[in-house]
Symmetry: C2
DNA sequence: GTTAGCACTCGCTTAGTCAGAGTGCTAACT
DNA sequence: AGTTAGCACTCTGACTAAGCGAGTGCTAAC
């Protein structure tokens, strides 16, 4: 069977009605809608067809129709209009985003909370996976007789450090030599490369005098590299799920929160997702806990290379169009922020994509 | 009316029974308990007295008795026995605690998750408030032509850093001079002192050549100091509240999670609490959202000075005795970990408080 | 002072009823 | 042939009533 013009129209109406109300949509409700000149009976016939084709379901005989995941997929791919955000909305996002400190981690966390506030959903933001970050510079600094600080600067601008207790005496000169040697050996390598081949081992044998120092420093160096690979996941608006009728059931709410609390799991799932804006709907999600949810994620980049993710999670019945636009704008903004590292932002991001302004907020 | 021996015994029995089952305790149940040689009727009389005195309440006429907050307070202060943890339990905690990396923040977060796992409650852990942390050492390091790294080492061993984009050219020498000057000016000051009196301002006027550099560096210095003051709050086991019958009501669960999600609020509340083990029960909590809950917190210290908090939050009906012991042991362990900075722990913490082993797990 | 007995009170569960919403089908209409 | 009105049917959700069980409070006897 073909999806006629009218079927599409009806399907779209059902979806947006259901997104708004969370109630199964009946034929009478639809026929009363503006622009619908068909009687309930006609609509019922079309609905029956749509159901046969897998776009609608029936909670029970005497209930209205509910869109299936397949319907949402069609909606997202073809039916929905992507409203440009209004200037005001954009301004709100941009301002909120820059009200925070310049600290990277905080900005990411803040982005998550903005997203959750605007969408009224549960949101998350992930710091970039730094596997590909390149070591630029390694330094050892004397703090006191038995403490030095190991510092690793990477191309992305991230500086990691670690205090190291030295078990052997050291001199400023030997520290400097060790720093230089380490930099020489590791500079230009990615963090993950550096982790896999422990180059300094060779070095130790060469300069015996320094092997004691190296023994103190290297384990800490490795630990620090490992730390650099860690991805942080920020989550906001957990309690928003309680606003969603689907989760007024305690056991459902429970498993939702339980799932989200497992940060490692969640992080892994998010990393695996494609870059760019990605929408997965209901049973398209592999995780069984997620099959009642939809996930919208997008990626931002730092310095044009490292890629982090940000997104929302909510019921399949969510405002895909609006939320997609919001996330898109937010990630553009983030990427932009992390490009002009030093903080002097240009303020014309708003107009970046040409002027297609203030229109269809169809929700 | 006096609290006779028998009344106390009955009250204690009601409390521990109720803690275990979450069901109102009836007179028959009690009379069947081992060591209770009184008939239900006798017990009923005593119960009536206890209710009159404010230690018990009645959800409704035909229900059993439920302890009041006043009863829990009595229980915590006088009735409950504080079981020493068994060697096994201690070993589990200690091992779990040290299975993590040496990274400070991670250890704290990990402590929270251990606590939540063991107690099956929602737990939290707060990094220390560093207002009193003393600046030890400030350094500026050249990374490339336009980037330097600002590094602040504090007495507590914490190293903070920030990449600074320089708008003016600089030389290694001038960097070193600026580092030295800053160290000279700020060394020995606490972070909060340093924040309040911006000493370097004077310096700028003295050495004109450096004022450009200082202008780039100082705002970042201040930002970094502010960052150092930030307290992180880690929370674990949020979904554990769903195990608690009291929170099977969605709206209750909601307000619980909502409250906990407001990290700033929570942090403030926790900071305000007394150090040492502190138990607040039900309406003893000022916050109205917390009046159905009890809070047990304890403080750990870093290097004998900075103080952080860790604790659990749960229904007033919680296993005070066991949980208190667990938290006490955990904080001792944490404090100890952060004393022997370099990581070589002695393994005799278990025996620190003398041998009073393997007894009354009365729950 | 303690206990047995008994009437009484609630809350929870199950079954039963009823109104409302919505469907599916058939037959009539355009 | 597509559209519509009408009607029987189904299912849910809210409400009500009855019965059970747990537990109390009181009285009178031990």
């Amino acid at each position: 069977m073909e999806l006629s013009e009218r079927k599409l129209k009806i399907l779209q109406a059902i979806i947006s009605e259901y997104i708004k109300t969370a109630e199964p949509v009946g034929s009478r409700t639809l026929s009363k809608k503006e622009g619908f000149d068909y009687s309930p009976a006609t609509i019922r016939n079309e609905m029956a067809d749509l159901e046969e084709m897998g776009y609608l379901t029936h909670p029970h005989t005497s209930a209205g129709r509910v869109p299936s995941d397949k319907a949402y997929r069609l909606y997202v791919n073809e039916l929905m209009e992507r409203p440009q955000l209004s200037k005001d909305e954009k301004a709100i996002i941009a301002n909120r985003l820059h009200e925070t400190t310049v600290d990277f981690e905080k900005t990411i966390a803040h982005a998550a909370s903005i997203l959750s506030e605007i969408t009224n959903l549960t949101s998350f933001a992930m710091t970039p996976k730094k596997t590909e970050d390149v070591i630029k510079y390694i330094n050892l600094l004397s703090v006191d007789e038995e403490t030095v600080v190991l510092m690793i600067v990477s191309e992305s601008g991230k500086v990691s450090n670690k205090a190291v207790k030295m078990s052997v005496p050291y001199t400023e000169d030997s520290l400097e030599l060790l720093s230089k040697t380490m930099t020489y050996n590791y500079k230009g390598k990615t963090v993950s490369q550096a982790l896999t081949n422990n180059i300094i081992a060779n070095f130790e044998t060469d300069v015996v005098a320094m092997s004691g120092m190296a023994e103190d420093v290297m384990p800490n160096f490795m630990k620090t590299l490992e730390d650099m690979l860690n991805v942080n996941l920020y989550m906001e608006g957990l309690s928003n799920i309680f606003d969603i009728p689907e989760y007024s059931d305690v056991s459902k709410a429970r498993s939702f929160i339980e799932m989200l609390s497992q940060k490692e799991e969640m992080t892994k799932k998010l990393i695996e997702r494609d870059d760019g804006i990605t929408v997965t709907i209901g049973d398209e999600n592999e995780d069984s806990n997620l099959q009642d949810c939809s996930l919208i994620t997008a990626s931002y980049s730092v310095d044009g290379k490292l890629v982090g993710k940000i997104g929302v999670i909510g019921p399949t019945r969510m405002k895909y169009s609006k939320i997609t636009s919001i996330i898109e704008y937010l990630t553009e903004n983030l990427t932009d922020t992390f490009k002009l590292e030093s903080g002097e932002r240009t303020d014309d991001i708003d107009d970046k994509k040409g002027e297609n302004e203030g229109v269809n907020n169809n929700e």
